[in-house]
Structure formats: structure tokens, C-alpha cells
Amino acid sequence: MTPHSIGIAAVAIALTVAGCAMVPRTNSHLEDARTLYRAAHEDREIARLAPSELARAEDTFHLAEAAWNTLDDPAVVDHLAYLAKQRIAIAREIARKASAEEAALAARLGQDTDLATAGAGGLQLTNARR
């Protein structure tokens, strides 16, 4: 190995090391999206009440992750992470809406049951008096 080739190799190694050092290890927007994604993924109510919206949010989050892992432009990662975060929030809101609708229906059914019970009681009372 000649001194010249050794010099070239040294420069190449230095550039590689410097290049690796300059690549940021995390992306704050992607990390935020990851945190929200994990929380949403573990939330059974979201999975039950907003499955399609959650799936769409997951797809977008995975795109953001892929963009980060393939060293795509940070702006692309930020953009996709933002879309993922918003879609997770949408899934959450849709689940909240569906859950409230279930609660409203239960309250209405309970009221109807009360009325039916009261009506049946009244009927029994009337029959007993006859």
C-alpha cells in the first residue's frame, strides 16, 4: 500500500465517520408520532370504535418511519409524521364520538326499560285491583 493510497483511505474513513456523526439520531416529530401511535395502538376503544381511521394513521406512521430509515429528506419525515399525528388524533376523536353515541343509546334504552317496567307495574296494579 502506497502512502498515497493510505492517505486516500484515511480521508475516506474520516469523511465516513464525520458523515455518520452528522446524521441526527432522532427526529422529534417522528418520536412524537411514535408516542401517540403506541398509545393509540394500545387503546382498545380506538381499535374497536375507529379501526379504519387507526389503520390509516398506522399506514402513515409507517411511511414516516420508512422515510426516516431510508434517510429521506428530513422535511419529508416531518411532513409524514405530522400527517400521522393528525390521523391518530382523528381516530381518537372518532372513537370518542362512537363511545358517546353508545353511552347515549344505553341511557335511552335504560330509560325505555324504566318506562316499560313502570308501565308493566301499572298494568299489574290495575289487574290486581280488578
Partner: protein, 143 residues
């Protein structure tokens, strides 16, 4: 400088400097992608405009912040689309679409929660009246 990193943060902040942040982001995007060639995202702009229209039709306090954000991004997206920056226009239009969808979802959820509370109160009141009526009919029994 990242082209659009400030935009995501705009949702967390109470719309204090959205315009300045967006303009700075767009400038960064223009510097980064100015030489790239993309078609004008007509379909995305139309879809985003429709989403903003839907959200505006359901406008209520719980969704106003996200709706304002969506409208601002939509305006910037149109401006960029006509300024030969279609890639940045597409990004902003995509963000406007999800912002508008979130605004609408928040309003619909808030309405559903209010309706649920109303029915639960009605049910509670009805239950209390039934207990009182039952106690009146059978004064010797505990409620």
C-alpha cells in the same frame, strides 16, 4: 432548515405565530425543492378544499383552531401552486386536509358527548322519579 417542521408545531401552539412559522417553512421548502419538477396537485387541492368546506359546515368552538389552521394552509397551498412550487403546495394541501378532518371530528365528538350527557341526565331524572313513585306506592318498603 427543514422545509415544513414548523408547521407540525403549529397545532400545539395556540396559533400565536402560525403565519410567520408557515412562511419560514415554505421559504425553506422552496430553497430545498425549488429545482424539483412536480405537477400541480389539482386533485389534492380539490380534496383538501372539500375537507375544509365540510369542516366549516360543522364549525363550532371545539374545532375552530384546527379549522383556522386548515384554512391558512389551504391559502398558502393555492399561492404556492400558482407560484410554481407544486410539491410544497401538495404538502400544505395534505396537511390542510387532515387539519380540517380533525376539526370536523372534534366537533362531531363534542356534539355526541353533549348528547350523551343530556340522555344520561334525563335517565337519571326519570330513575329518581320512578324511585319516588315506587316509594309513594309502597310506603312501608325501603326504596
Amino acid at each position: 432548515m427543514n422545509p415544513l417542521p414548523a408547521l407540525p408545531g403549529m397545532t400545539a401552539a395556540p396559533a400565536a405565530t402560525p403565519r410567520a412559522a408557515a412562511l419560514a417553512s415554505i421559504l425553506g421548502a422552496a430553497l430545498t425543492f425549488g429545482c424539483a419538477s412536480y405537477p400541480v396537485p389539482e386533485l389534492q387541492l380539490a380534496a383538501s378544499q372539500a375537507a375544509v368546506g365540510n369542516a366549516a359546515a360543522h364549525a363550532a368552538p371545539s374545532g375552530l383552531h384546527d379549522l383556522a389552521l386548515a384554512r391558512e394552509k389551504m391559502g398558502l397551498a393555492r399561492h404556492l401552486a400558482s407560484s410554481a412550487l407544486p410539491q410544497e403546495a401538495r404538502w400544505l394541501a395534505e396537511q390542510a386536509e387532515v387539519d380540517a378532518q380533525l376539526a370536523q371530528a372534534k366537533v362531531l365528538a363534542a356534539n355526541a358527548v353533549a348528547e350523551a350527557v343530556r340522555w344520561q341526565r334525563l335517565a337519571s331524572a326519570r330513575g329518581a322519579r320512578l324511585v319516588q313513585a315506587s316509594a309513594a306506592r309502597n310506603p312501608g318498603e325501603a326504596p
